[in-house]
């Protein structure tokens, strides 16, 4: 076996002159590989189907940038709800903290789109067209003049571009919806130049990424991999090699040797080109390929499985394993607090956005009979159905009322409007400025939005003393 062992001080996939050493990971079988295929199938199905499934008349996920409406599994969000992004992003952050502290880089190996598309789409096609790893290496070395390479590589490039185009189109469908995308696709590309360019560029980028760039993304570009590496500790579940059991390496027949027979299967199957036996490394995306590879060899040798296994660094070095530790509690508490806040804000979301601002000019008006305040009420219907809204004053002192405004205002779908709102108090009942609540309620009290309104006016004693009658 002439495979040089990876070295922890250099990157396996970069040659001495800086050029790329292209990896061809060997095939691997086993329970983790099977489980990953199931997980990947579910995630891929979700990616493909989400724009097609309709919930409340809209695609399950539809980020309608042009109309500025965002549909998330039945929820309709408007740009005014952007503050919810805070909870979404912190929620994802806390989840990442918690899951990574417990399970290490489970995301990278099992759920990351880079891994899912690469391992379960592109590499499958590659394996189907070009055969196992050593065939692919031979094909790499072959001249393009040979028809076999032209045929196999040509077919691979064609299917890769096709796959990239499908993924790119589906990605765009999340922003423009399937029917519109289909309409565009049947039209002249010049009619939708920017969309066409976007899909073409994304197709190119995806092709480059999945045909050539591959693990370089995880090793050098991806920030989440680094985040996660920083969030793990000695009690985190990682993939590791049990050196106490494996060393010293030697032939299966050697009675003095450890369990590792140095077959290098774990190195051959690694998609990032590391040797897991050199310890926990930043390049490891936690794909569990080496576990399945080693278990297969151990089974053949009749030795117990788990020489390479999911375990914590403490567990691997024979120390006590701890799942519950201060870090888990803190991250769990953060996650629960964040999830609670997010759940509360998402569940109390109203279909109408309302803001009230005092009209320009005088802050209040005094007439012979009344003290009056005027406001502009801005109402935005965030839903695509008309809303009928009712207004009511709460906590108003005697004689203070809403005047002139109709009881019900019907706001058409997705419309924004500004209405004048006038608050007026009988001069006799006036006792000074007051803070009141203008409540805007939907039909059947399905929702209500309280607005705090400051009713301003002069000092009540001075007003009573003054009998002059200023302008309305």
């Amino acid at each position: 076996m002439a495979l040089t062992l990876p070295n922890r001080d250099v990157v396996t996939t970069i040659n001495r002159d800086g050029s790329r050493h292209f990896l061809h990971p060997a095939d691997v079988r086993g329970r983790f590989t099977r489980a990953r295929k199931v997980v990947a199938a579910v995630i891929l199905a979700a990616y493909v189907l989400l724009p097609w499934i309709k919930i409340n008349g809209h695609p399950a996920v539809f980020l309608d940038v042009a109309e500025r409406r965002f549909y998330l599994v039945g929820l309709t969000l408007a740009p005014q709800d952007l503050w919810l992004m805070f909870f979404l992003i912190t929620g994802l952050g806390f989840t990442l903290f918690f899951v990574t502290a417990l399970l290490g880089r489970i995301w990278c190996g099992w759920a990351c789109p880079q891994t899912i598309f690469l391992e379960h789409l592109y590499r499958r096609v590659e394996r189907w067209l070009e055969g196992p790893a050593h065939h692919r290496q031979k094909l790499d070395a072959m001249s393009w003049a040979k028809p076999e390479k032209l045929r196999r590589r040509g077919a691979k490039i064609f299917i890769f571009v096709l796959l990239s185009a499908v993924i790119a189109h589906l990605f765009l469908a999340y922003f423009v919806s399937i029917p519109q995308l289909y309409g565009w696709m049947r039209d002249d590309p010049a009619q939708h130049g920017s969309a066409f360019l976007f899909v073409a560029a994304l197709t190119g980028l995806l092709y480059f990424n999945f045909a050539w760039f591959r693990e370089q993304f995880c090793l050098i570009l991806c920030p989440y991999g680094r985040f996660q590496s920083a969030l793990t500790d000695d009690d985190t579940l990682v993939i590791g090699y049990d050196a106490r059991r494996g060393e010293p390496r030697g032939k299966a027949t050697d009675p003095r040797a450890g369990a590792c027979v140095n077959c290098l299967r774990c190195v051959q199957v690694c998609p990032t080109g590391i040797d897991i036996r050199q310890g926990f490394q930043i390049e490891c995306i936690g794909c569990a390929g080496c576990i399945d590879a080693c278990n297969e060899v151990m089974d053949k040798l009749g030795r117990p499985r788990g020489l390479v296994r999911y375990d914590s660094l403490n567990g691997l070095s024979g120390k006590r394993r701890r799942v519950l530790r201060p870090r888990t509690y803190v991250y769990a508490a953060l996650l629960l607090a964040g999830a609670g806040a997010a759940l509360y804000s998402f569940s109390t979301l109203e279909p109408v956005n309302a803001a009230i601002v005092r009209m320009g000019g005088r802050p209040y008006f005094i007439t012979p009979d009344t003290v009056r305040n005027q406001f502009n009420l801005r109402l935005i219907n965030k839903h695509d159905a008309p809303l009928s809204l009712h207004f009511a004053l709460e906590g108003a002192p005697a004689g203070l009322q809403l005047v002139g405004t109709n009881d019900t205002v019907v706001l058409p779908a997705n419309e924004e409007t500004v209405l004048p709102v006038v608050l007026q108090q009988d001069r006799g009942a006036y006792t000074g400025p007051a803070s009141v609540t203008l409540r805007i309620a939907g039909a059947n009290q399905t929702f209500s939005v309280p607005l705090r309104v400051e009713f301003l006016g002069p000092n009540a004693k001075l007003l009573r003393a003054d009998t002059a009658t200023p302008t309305p």
Partner: protein, 197 residues
């Protein structure tokens, strides 16, 4: 198995110097990474030329200005040649009046009453006018408002076209030959009963 380019396989490269026995790695950066750097430098040159020497930005600015002008032309088309005759003519056009009535019923009714009978604001159904009897003067009042009173400027909220329509609606209740200019203190809406003791 023999990976191609085995002889070029990466290995530890050390700088020659050594201080206190500490040595430095000297591996090559990935070529693709270097290309992104060179590409960024090349792009910077072109971007600099485009935005400074070739005035690449003014083309954008001019395009934007052109689009804004076109929008303005469209917005102000309704009032381009607006004069009293035009507004009177509009006030006898049922389509314009109906559009104006819709605006009145959503905004103006709050102060001027659903039947123009007045309330907080002046009565508009009578023939007595405080701020001018010419249609263009009424248009000016709605557009600019009347400082110091409850009438704010509606230009930003309604825009010239809707203001034209709503003025046409108000004029549709008026007889051009029978509009009377009165001083402010004679406006009937202001004739309130005296304040309660």
């Amino acid at each position: 198995m023999n990976p191609p380019g085995q002889s070029t396989r990466n290995d530890v490269v050390l700088r020659e110097h050594s201080f206190d026995g500490i040595q430095e790695f000297d591996q090559r950066l990935p070529n693709w990474w270097l290309y992104t750097l060179f590409g960024a430098i090349a792009f910077a040159v072109f971007a600099w030329l485009f935005f400074t020497a070739a005035n690449g930005t003014t083309a954008d600015t001019r395009r934007l200005a052109g689009q804004l002008d076109a929008l303005d032309a469209q917005r102000f088309a309704a009032i381009k040649n607006l004069d009293d005759q035009t507004l009177w003519a509009m006030s006898r056009n049922p389509t314009v009046v109906a559009q104006g009535e819709k605006v009145f019923e959503s905004i103006c009714y709050t102060c001027h009453g659903a039947n123009l009978q007045g309330g907080i604001g002046f009565r508009l159904s009578d023939n007595l006018w405080v701020h001018g009897t010419k249609p263009t003067e009424i248009f000016g009042v709605v557009t600019r408002g009347v400082p110091g009173t409850g009438m704010q400027s509606w230009n930003s909220q309604l825009g010239p076209q809707k203001i034209t329509q709503v003025v046409a609606f108000v004029l549709s209740k008026q007889d051009p030959d029978n509009m009377v200019l009165i001083p402010r203190d004679q406006e009937p809406t202001l004739q309130h009963k005296p304040a309660a003791p």
